[in-house]
């Protein structure tokens, strides 16, 4: 089946150009797109900034990955509603203040060592579950209160 031209995918940036000038869209479609020297330079600058932004994204994602692995609650409880409540508490409450963010940073700095140390002590992992669950219940209550 031959697809009609209007069935082609349209990109977000093309539709966005409509908000800039409809006539330009019409002329570009009829005569081709011809960016000025100024626009080409701006595009080049934008490309460089985006490449840097992407590199930053990868570094942030890598850091998040590291953080995910070292969460003591995940080690003790696995990925469950309790650990999600603790994460929500971290995101909704702790991240909102400078002191909270500092606490998170300190915690993520030391928790990998703590996790490694705990991994070889199953009794300690079991013993840590009840207090962690209690903490998660408090966190969940605070998160629910914020959400309401």
């Amino acid at each position: 089946m031959v697809r009609k031209p209007d069935d082609k995918f349209v990109s977000a940036s093309e539709i966005a150009r409509l908000a800039y000038c409809e006539r330009q869209v019409a002329f570009d479609a009829a005569f081709g797109r011809r960016p000025t020297l100024h626009q080409r330079r701006a595009q080049e600058r934008g490309r460089g900034a985006h490449e840097e932004f992407y590199r930053e994204s990868r570094r942030i994602a890598k850091a998040s990955e590291r953080k995910g692995r070292c969460f003591v609650a995940t080690l003790a409880l696995g990925d469950c509603p309790e650990t999600r409540a603790l994460r929500a508490f971290r995101d909704l409450h702790l991240r909102r203040s400078v002191a909270g963010r500092w606490l998170i940073a300190v915690y993520y700095r030391f928790s990998p060592h703590l996790c490694r140390w705990m991994e070889t002590r199953p009794t300690l992992v079991r013993a840590s579950r009840p207090p962690l669950r209690a903490l998660a219940r408090v966190a969940a209550a605070l998160v629910d209160r914020t959400a309401r």
Partner: protein, 183 residues
């Protein structure tokens, strides 16, 4: 004697805190990487970066700069390099299309609030701007309009809002000759 010990403890605590502070700052690879981001997204998990999404249903395609997963939904972030610290309607349209494409391809909930981070072209400094995205119906109408304009089915397409925009357009002479209102 006791005062001497207290002073030593205080000095040791101070030195220890300073060392910890410096190590934390050096170790946090993200402190500079997260510059210009809103507070709500600092430290949040990046779900997608520089990825293209397609909505087969609406025939829309979009490449997003970054999407964070926060409280069970995705928050879109778009970087723009500009001389002025402003957000344009075209940014909102572009991100609204991204939202639909991500929702349809990934099947994840995407927040109707998004962030445009404007980077100054000269200084490199960044500032975040919160924007409210358009809904699916509005984008469907715009996509339809785009297809009509690009397909030459609109006899009187709207001009740019200001003449200064026209001065940067390579079709300016052609536009003036055709519509006679851009002089």
């Amino acid at each position: 004697m006791q005062e001497g010990w207290s002073a030593i403890v205080v000095v040791l605590l101070f030195v220890g805190s300073a060392v910890l502070f410096v190590r934390l700052r050096q170790g946090s690879a993200t402190s500079d990487d997260e510059r210009g981001l809103p507070r709500a997204l600092i430290g949040a998990e990046i779900a997608y970066a520089e990825r293209t999404f397609r909505s087969v249903r609406t025939r829309l395609v979009a490449r997003l700069d970054r999407a964070y997963r926060v409280d069970g939904e995705l928050k879109l972030v778009e970087l723009k390099t500009r001389a002025r610290d402003v957000v344009y309607m075209s940014d909102i349209v572009e991100m609204s299309v991204q939202r639909i494409a991500v929702q349809d391809e990934a099947g994840e909930a995407v927040s109707s609030d998004a962030w445009v981070v404007v980077q100054n072209g000269d200084t490199g400094s960044r500032r975040p701007h919160k924007v409210r995205l358009l809904d699916r119906d509005e984008i469907a109408r715009l996509a339809e309009r785009y297809r009509d304009v690009a397909g030459g089915r609109v006899t009187a397409p709207h001009p740019a809002r200001s003449l200064s925009q026209c001065r940067q357009c390579t079709h300016c002479d052609r536009c003036s000759a055709t519509f006679r209102d851009r002089g």
